[in-house]
Structures are given as structure tokens and as C-alpha cells.
């Protein structure tokens, strides 16, 4: 890893490409004009289901709540055999152990937020310990938050070094860097933060904590996917993407998949390289999947709400 990094030329992040707001929003809107029907819709829904990081990040979370969610992750809708599982469960570090046990060898990964989520307002050593704790308890993936205050102050070296330090603390766990785009203020800044995170060692870049509105949007995701594409061409390294927060409807999830298909293509069209951070999306997808197969919409009461 270190050898790999030394080969990489670190650019001047002040020179990250600019983004035209009108243009990027137009392109994102055009994605929503794609018509996804019939088998294409069903396949898209199943793919989206398999890309979900089923999330609970509440102060009131308990072992019981997390165990239920882990069961749901593996048994999305048993009335309907043959469905995939979600990609991962996303919890606070204190719940990692419980989740890991509950999921066993189901293949569903455990992701843990860390680094003083969601604000990130803590000293670096606390963040590193937070990360190490999650990993030691068995987290497969760590979702860290960008230090937005430092970033907005222009202290890019600080932000870069922090991400690199957390990456080191992650060991074999994959690192997701949450940019919290709702606090960055412009697409230019989203692009710059994406570049910093990728060059500093992020495995994923992720839009939002889900605690701030706006969370993920199509244009923000487009800016990040384009950053990933440029990074790939510059370094040969694939980075994964995770829009999170505010994606609760199937139709919107399909728009994201259309965007993914047209910006990054086949290699990214799986849950190794793309995730949805969401909690209520799963049930909407299930409802649509059942509708596609049976031709009938069922009431919400037919889908479990763990």
C-alpha cells in the first residue's frame, strides 16, 4: 500500500477541476429522463437491494435493535424466496460486536461509523482510537467523517493527513470517507474534497452522514462519480461510491444506477464498488419487486420494519 502511494503524484488540491452548477444539474436531470421498464426495472431493483448499507445510527440504538436489523439484512422478505441480502449493516462502533455475531458468515459486511461521527469534532488520537476500536471488534468497513471545519478553512494538508492516519488505523478494513456535502456549500468544494479523500487513501467516498439536510443528491453524486473516473484514469485505482441519506424511493435508486452506468460503467455496477446508505429504501424496493413479479402493489404492512 505504501509502495503504491509513493508512486502516486499528489496534486495541488487548490487546482482541482471546477464544476459548473447549471451544467451538472442539467446532466443529473437528464439521467432522470431514462425510462426503466420491465426486466430492466426488476434487475435494477434487485441490484439496488444488494447494494444497500442497511443503517441504524441512533442514540437510542440497543443490542436488540441491532440484532433485529441484522436478521432483516439476511431475510429481507422470506415470503419471496431468492432475494439477495443487503451489502452491509452500518452501526456505531459500540454495536459492531453484536452485529458481527448476529451476521456470522452470512456474507453481509459490518460497517461502522467512526472518528467522532457525525461532527468529527474530536482530537486526532481520539478518532484513531475510535477507528481501532471498531476494527478490533470486527468491522469490515469504517465510515469516517471529513473534518469539514478544517477543510473549509483551506487546511487541506491537515485533512489529507488525517484521512491517511485513519486509513492506516483501519488495517484491512475498507475506509469510507464521508464528505458531508450538505456542509460544503458548493460543487467545487465537493470535487476538491473528493480528490483529497481519494489521494489520501479512501476506498470509498460517501456523500453524507444522514444527519444533515441536504444529504445525497443526484448532482452531488455525479460530481463525485466524475472525480472517481478522473482518479481512475490518473492512477489506475478504482474507488467506490456511496450516496447516503435521502434515498428512500426505488425510482430514485434506479436514477442513481443509471448515472453509475453512464459515468463509470460495468466494473462499478456491484456492491463492491457502489452502495446506498439507507434505511427505508429496502422496503420500498421490496414492494416494487413484489409488484413487478405479481402485478399487484401490497400494503406497507406486508413488509417488516426492522
Amino acid at each position: 500500500m505504501i509502495a503504491e502511494k509513493t508512486k502516486m503524484i499528489i496534486p495541488d488540491f487548490r487546482l482541482s477541476p471546477g464544476v459548473d452548477q447549471v451544467g451538472v444539474e442539467e446532466r443529473a436531470a437528464r439521467v432522470t429522463r431514462r425510462s426503466i421498464k420491465k426486466e430492466s426495472k426488476l434487475n435494477g431493483l434487485l441490484l439496488a437491494l444488494n447494494m444497500i448499507d442497511l443503517t441504524t445510527l441512533e442514540g437510542k440504538d440497543t443490542d436488540g435493535k441491532v440484532k433485529q436489523l441484522c436478521y432483516k439484512a439476511q431475510h429481507l422478505h422470506d415470503a419471496y424466496p431468492g432475494l439477495p441480502t443487503v451489502a452491509a449493516i452500518c452501526v456505531y462502533p459500540s454495536m459492531v460486536k453484536v452485529a458481527k455475531q448476529a451476521l456470522g458468515n452470512s456474507g453481509v459486511k459490518v460497517a461502522s461509523v467512526a472518528t467522532a461521527f457525525p461532527s468529527g469534532q474530536a482530537p486526532r488520537d481520539v478518532k484513531i482510537r475510535d477507528t481501532k476500536y471498531a476494527v478490533a471488534n470486527g468491522a469490515d468497513e469504517v465510515d469516517m467523517v471529513l473534518s469539514r471545519g478544517k477543510f473549509l478553512m483551506g487546511e487541506y494538508n491537515y485533512v489529507f493527513d488525517e484521512i491517511a492516519a485513519i486509513k492506516e488505523a483501519c488495517g484491512d478494513a475498507r475506509l469510507k470517507v464521508i464528505l458531508e456535502t450538505g456542509e460544503l456549500g458548493s460543487y467545487d468544494k465537493v470535487r476538491r474534497a473528493s480528490d483529497i479523500a481519494m489521494y489520501a487513501g479512501a476506498d470509498f467516498i460517501k456523500t453524507s452522514t444522514g444527519k444533515i439536510s441536504p444529504a445525497a443528491t443526484l448532482p452531488v453524486t455525479l460530481v463525485m462519480l466524475e472525480a472517481i473516473r478522473d482518479f481512475y484514469y490518473a492512477t489506475g485505482k478504482m474507488i467506490a461510491m456511496k450516496p447516503a441519506g435521502g434515498i428512500s424511493k426505488s425510482k430514485l435508486a434506479l436514477h442513481y444506477l443509471v448515472m453509475l452506468k453512464e459515468v463509470l460503467g460495468e466494473a462499478w455496477m456491484n456492491n463492491e464498488w457502489f452502495r446506498f446508505g439507507a434505511s427505508s429504501l429496502a422496503n420500498d424496493l421490496l414492494m416494487q419487486i413484489v409488484k413487478e413479479k405479481t402485478g399487484l402493489y401490497q400494503s406497507k404492512d406486508y413488509f417488516s420494519i426492522d
Partner: protein, 504 residues
């Protein structure tokens, strides 16, 4: 950014997750098997049973076929107007002008125009489907652009009808008389709206001829005009080819010519009306430069270039067909262009997911293929997307040419198809000189993050419309027209009224 270490990296856009066909239903569109001429408020048979010359063998008596370019099947047949029919139409327009329309209070005129606009909106879906069937453009464009923009033109000019004294303060505004209007096949309904709406608002009457390959939406508009109870003869819509157009231009009863089409025909019209009192506006060809500076937001610039050249299969007079890229970002821009054209879907125009539809006619497809051949013979390097083309119909892959010189014919002549030439430049002065080095001057595009550069470029481009950090944006309030061989006169906005009034 860091330099690419590995130039063999490639993204694969032919993904295992595919879009299923999503065709718009044809059943909404009622197309009659035969259309007559719309003269004096009625649909009348052409006076001659035998068709005069129509440049191909599709004649059948006094009618000619209009086909769907996406499958080469006949959609309908339309009457072929000869000089006698043109005379009848002009006389009807004259009578309507003298007796009714020029005398009607302006706000009453406005009511009719508003009515046409609203009826167009009500039947927007049908218009969109017919426009796509007859012309080959993707339903996405006819639905989201052509039809709504056409209705907007009627709304906009309806608003001006009783406010002309404010458009031209301290002047007395008088209509011109009978306008002869000849429109092209690339935006059949929209061009009809551009022509008819300002003419009616200012109190003129109209004889309009749609292009021979795309007459159907104009004839549908005639049906709306009939239903709207517009006084007979105020709008006459007659179909035919070049000879019919010539008869309109040469008719002594015409006071004003409005023409949109090729520069060659524009020159013929100009010669024909020399020495007469006829006013004219000509909106002719173009070979627009789209200029990307190194400080531009590149992803959005590339998207704008794609829309600039591939919108409506490149059948756009203001298409950004010459791309100039600052050399420091040339490789990146070219890579992004190639990636983007791989994701464009070429195929059935009625499919809602189609990005590039059918080329309008066999003749036009041959013209485009000929230019592609010329480009290769000139030593330019060609890149086409790898998409499959439908077996039937007239289709062309999106095409890029690099290694192009100013002296290459493909960089000089209007191709009117999905073909982009790409050149590089080093300095601002150089690109200004190169961009203006063309016989045309309809439009241009500039992409940069620097405001001062935008103002410098827009003042120096010899083009009627210059877009900055966007392309192909149209609005009824904005004037449109050319410099040099792109014609003269402006359509749209307040300027568009000028062509249809005499100021005292």
C-alpha cells in the same frame, strides 16, 4: 492533476444491466392517409392531378409521400401545390389581411394566438409523436423541447399583439401585409411557430410551406388553426417542394419573405426578390465554433459539446460542429468525449431512452456519409461510437474527427449531421481568429470559468448567438439570427417583431 500512467485504461459502458425498450405509444397520433392544402380556412385538393417535379419518384398524382425515416415506411401522402395553388393561397391571405386581420383590434388578435398556444399544449403529446414519426428526432427532444418551445412562442407573441406601441415607442406600427414563409425539416413545428406567431401578432397574414420531408406537424397545426376559428385565410399552409417555394417567393402578392434553410437557397431567394419591394429575413446555415479553455469545468463543457453537436442528430443550423480545445486539456477532453459518446443511445426515435434518432432523409444520410468519406480522405482521424445501428431506416453513429485543419472541407462546410471536428489552440487570439475564419456566423460557444474571458470572447465572435458555459439554449424572448452567410434578420424576442412591421 496527476498524469495518466496507463493509457490503456478503459471503462466498459456496455453493461450487463441494460435498458429495456420503452417506446412511446403511436396510438395517440392520428395521421390521416392523405392531407390536402390548407387554404382560406379549408382543406382543399390541389389544382393539378399530375404532380409537377418533385425531386424523387415518390409522386402519386398531385400528392407525394411522406415517410418515417426510422423505418422507411410511408406515413401519409400530402398534396403538392403548384403555382395556381400558391396564387389561391396568396389571394386568400390578401383578402383576409384587407378585410379582417389588419383591422381587428390587437387584443382580439391576441386571443386567437393564445388559443392556438393552449390547443398546442393540450395536444402536445400527439404533436411530439408525429414530429418524431415524420422527422426521425428522438421523442425525448420533441416532447421536452420542440413542442413546448413552439407553444411558448405563440404565448410570447400573443402577449406582444396589443403592446406594439411599447415595443417601438414614439413610432406608428403598421403590419407589412402577406408574409410568405418557407421552413426547413429540422424543427418543423418549432420553425412554423417562429414564423407564424410574430406575423400574426403584428397583424400580418401568412402563406407557409413546410419542408417536403416533414409536412405533418404543420398540417396538424393547420387543423388546430381551423378548430381555433381563426378567420379564413389568415394562415394558409401549403405543401410542396422547391418549385412550390419558388412560386411563393416570386408571387407579386407577397410583401415579406421569411426563410429558414440552406445558404444556397437563401442566395436564390435574395436574387429573386432583388428589385422588388419584398422584405426578407433569411436564417441560413452555420458552422459554429465551440471553444473549451483549459480553465473550463471540463465535464460540463464536454456535456455541452455533446448536446451542441448531437442534438437532433446534428440537424441544427447552430450546431457546434467545430470544437476548439486548448492544447493543455486536449487529451482529457478527447477521452471524456469518447467515453460520453459510448453512452449515447442511437436507435428507434420513439423509444424514450433514445439520444440520437434517425437522419431525416436518405438524401441527407448520403450527404453525411459523403462528408465522412471526405474527412478520411483528407487525412483526419475518425472515431465513432461502437453502438449497433438498426437494420432499417437512416441512422448514423456519432462521429468525431481529430487531426483536422482549418482548410479541411469537413471543418469548413456545413455537414448537418452528427459529425464533430476537433482542433486545438494555444492562445485566445489564435482561437478568435480560427473561430471567425468561416463563411458562416450563426452561433458560437465559449467554455471558461473566467468571466473576463467570456466577455472578451463574446464581443469578438462574429456570430449572432454566443453561448457561455452552455449551448443550444432557446427562449422565445431571445433573438436568433446570423452574420455573414448565415443570413440576416432576427427571429424571436422584441427583435423578431421588427421583421413583420413597417415603422412610421
Amino acid at each position: 492533476m496527476a498524469k495518466a500512467k496507463n493509457n490503456t485504461l478503459k471503462l466498459k459502458f456496455d453493461t450487463s444491466w441494460q435498458y429495456a425498450p420503452a417506446p412511446e405509444s403511436k396510438s395517440i397520433a392520428s395521421i390521416k392517409p392523405r392531407y390536402e392544402l390548407f387554404i382560406n380556412g379549408e382543406f382543399v385538393k390541389p389544382s393539378s392531378k399530375k404532380s409537377a417535379r418533385l425531386n424523387d419518384d415518390s409522386r402519386s398524382g398531385g400528392y407525394f409521400d411522406t415517410i418515417n425515416p426510422a423505418n422507411e415506411e410511408k406515413l401519409s401522402e400530402v398534396a403538392h401545390a403548384n403555382a395556381a395553388d400558391v396564387d389561391k393561397a396568396v389571394k386568400a391571405a390578401r383578402a383576409a389581411y384587407d378585410k379582417v386581420w389588419s383591422k381587428m383590434p390587437a387584443k382580439e388578435r391576441a386571443k386567437y394566438i393564445y388559443r392556438i398556444a393552449r390547443m398546442m399544449q393540450e395536444r402536445a403529446r400527439e404533436f411530439a409523436v408525429i414530429e418524431t414519426l415524420d422527422g426521425g428526432k428522438p421523442i425525448r427532444e420533441s416532447r421536452d423541447f420542440d413542442v413546448p418551445t413552439a407553444a411558448n412562442h405563440f404565448f410570447y407573441y400573443a402577449g406582444w399583439a396589443d403592446k406594439l406601441e411599447y415595443a417601438f415607442p414614439n413610432r406608428t406600427v403598421a403590419p407589412v401585409g402577406v408574409a410568405g414563409q418557407i421552413i426547413p425539416w429540422n424543427f418543423p413545428l418549432l420553425m412554423a411557430a417562429w414564423k407564424i406567431a410574430p406575423a400574426l401578432a403584428t397583424g400580418n397574414t401568412v402563406v407557409l410551406k413546410p419542408a417536403e420531408t416533414t409536412p405533418l406537424t404543420a398540417l396538424k397545426l393547420a387543423e388546430i388553426i381551423q378548430e381555433a376559428d381563426l378567420p379564413p385565410g389568415v394562415v394558409n399552409i401549403i405543401t410542396g417542394a422547391g418549385a412550390t417555394g419558388a412560386a411563393i417567393v416570386n408571387h407579386p402578392g407577397i410583401d415579406k419573405i421569411a426563410f429558414t434553410g440552406s445558404t444556397d437557397v437563401g442566395k436564390i431567394i435574395q436574387r429573386a426578390i432583388a428589385g422588388t419591394n419584398k422584405k426578407a429575413t433569411l436564417e441560413l446555415g452555420g458552422k459554429a465554433a465551440n471553444i473549451i479553455f483549459e480553465d473550463a469545468p471540463l465535464d460540463q463543457a464536454v456535456e455541452g459539446v455533446i448536446n451542441g453537436i448531437f442534438f437532433n442528430q446534428g440537424h441544427v443550423c447552430c450546431a457546434g460542429s467545430r470544437l476548439y480545445v486548448q492544447e493543455s486539456v486536449y487529451k482529457t477532453v478527447l477521452r471524456k468525449l469518447k467515453d460520453r459518446i459510448e453512452t449515447l443511445i442511437v436507435g428507434d426515435p420513439l423509444d424514450k431512452n433514445t439520444d440520437i434518432g434517425a437522419i431525416n432523409s436518405k438524401q441527407q444520410l448520403e450527404t453525411i456519409h459523403n462528408y465522412i468519406k471526405i474527412g478520411q480522405q483528407e487525412g483526419a482521424e475518425m472515431y465513432q461510437s461502437s453502438c449497433a445501428l438498426p437494420g432499417k431506416g437512416y441512422f448514423c453513429r456519432p462521429t468525431l474527427f481529430t487531426n483536422v485543419a482549418q482548410s479541411s472541407r469537413i471543418a469548413q462546410e456545413e455537414i448537418f449531421g452528427p459529425v464533430l471536428t476537433i482542433q486545438t489552440f494555444r492562445t485566445e487570439d489564435e482561437v478568435i481568429e480560427k473561430a471567425n475564419n468561416t463563411s458562416y456566423g450563426l452561433s458560437a460557444g465559449v467554455w471558461t470559468d473566467k468571466g473576463s474571458k467570456i466577455f472578451n470572447m463574446t464581443t469578438k465572435m462574429r456570430a449572432g448567438v454566443v453561448w457561455a458555459n452552455t449551448y443550444n439554449k432557446f427562449d422565445p424572448t431571445s433573438p436568433f439570427g446570423g452574420y455573414k452567410e448565415s443570413g440576416y434578420g432576427r427571429e424571436g424576442g422584441l427583435h423578431g417583431l421588427l421583421a413583420y412591421v413597417n415603422l412610421v
